[in-house]
Symmetry: C2
Subunit: 253 residues, 2 copies
């Protein structure tokens, strides 16, 4: 059996950085999904399983918290493991570390397994042959789990059309692209002065080609009273059917 924790060695390649020379959140996010996909495949519940059983993993929530980002040419690893199954959900965790033992940060993600025929989530606790329990490891990353803050703004801060290059192989807007949409609500000069320390995403309905989205933004102030960080709640809505696609919390230094 493959290890319950699998580490993927990576390096920040030229043209993966943001304007500050850090690995971009977009690239980090897609690398996180890639490692999740490769780990799941190694444990027998990845792409091959999904094709055979006509089921697909759907990302429900994601939180990433990093003290700093690897920079150009820096080596780092993403380590991932599954820690929990609860009803139709499972938690997959991530650690992002450097070769010197340094920890950049951590991630927690929550997934559902959708049956393509019924469009309903499968109960992961009652799958035959022990299901995915064999892969589980009782260990969670040392970061706060999802919060409860909400965006209360009623005036959109920006609009955004979903287009071809936003889509993944399922024809849905790529889950990580919503991170770009959220970060693009802040000008480059803000990003030059403030690093993103934490991003939380709660996914609702999926976006499709041609969708016009509205992005709402609330300044929630510092995380703790008197603190020096900056917390924002962002909501990405599709006015055509009044759907909420994603709720985002971003915390800047």
């Amino acid at each position: 059996m493959p290890d319950k924790k699998i580490s993927f060695p990576l390096v920040v390649e030229p043209f993966q950085e943001d304007v500050n020379g850090n690995l971009s959140w977009s690239n980090l996010g897609n690398l996180i999904l890639r490692c999740a996909s490769l780990h799941a495949e190694a444990h027998g519940f990845g792409y091959t399983y999904m094709q055979t059983h006509q089921r697909g993993w759907v990302l429900s929530r994601l939180v990433l918290e990093l003290d700093s980002m690897p920079v150009t040419a820096e080596h780092f690893s993403i380590t991932t493991w599954v820690s929990r199954i609860f009803r139709q959900f499972t938690d997959r965790n991530f650690s992002i570390t450097g070769p010197d033992g340094r920890t950049f940060g951590h991630g927690i993600s929550t997934w559902a397994l959708i049956d393509y025929a019924t469009r309903q989530p499968v109960n992961l606790e009652t799958l035959p042959e022990g299901g995915f329990h064999n892969a589980m490891l009782d260990e969670v990353p040392p970061i706060a789990t999802y919060g409860r803050a909400r965006c209360k703004s009623t005036e959109p801060a920006a609009e955004r059309d979903c287009r071809f290059t936003d889509l993944d192989t399922n024809g849905h807007v790529n889950s990580i692209r919503y991170i770009d949409m959220a970060l693009d609500l802040f000008p480059a000069d803000w990003h030059r002065a403030h690093n993103v320390r934490r991003i939380e995403l709660a996914y609702g309905l999926e976006g499709h080609d041609g969708d016009r989205l509205e992005l709402y933004k609330d300044d929630l102030g510092p995380t703790t009273e008197g603190g020096s960080d900056h917390r924002f709640a962002i909501e990405i809505r599709r006015p055509a059917d009044k759907a909420t696609l994603v709720r985002v919390i971003v915390v800047f230094d």
Copy 2:
């Protein structure tokens, strides 16, 4: 001395694909730039040289032509070499091949070396110590070089704001992001029916954070009379200063 031609082995990772399961043009483009950067560094005229001499490579033109794209999990290589120096320009070429000797396609790019102090291009033919001539190889890829077609449309097909996640480490809109902008002028259903076979880009002024761009599009019909392909001229303009940022030709099957 490093080889004049250097090959970089790659694989299409999960979440690098477009809606058709092909390596996306955006990812291909950034991989091309990455390989260019690594090859230049190996030959002593890369990032380290530029930092020392306060000069920077600027992409002037790029053409990519591919019969097909590598798909999910497929292995491929990008091979790159420099074939020509003419006044302040140099040509860098690319071949994209499979492990079985299969050729996916080729690329040609033209670069200028800008002196940061004067903002002027350096004459590459008169650099000391033979300049970059030692790295040159007299071989060009078997694809047509840049064409002369122009977009004549006077009504914008779309508008687009430049934002934080569009920017590279220089604070300019990433050269490859303009490919996304061009491809996003076509709905996903068009892309499902027509693969991109060739993209040409001619770069003008650079885009910056907050720029509002207008995208113009002309349907030029088939490449040759009676042909079954579809050729479009696209121009990306910044109305604020009437600048042309990029002229693009896209040919679909």
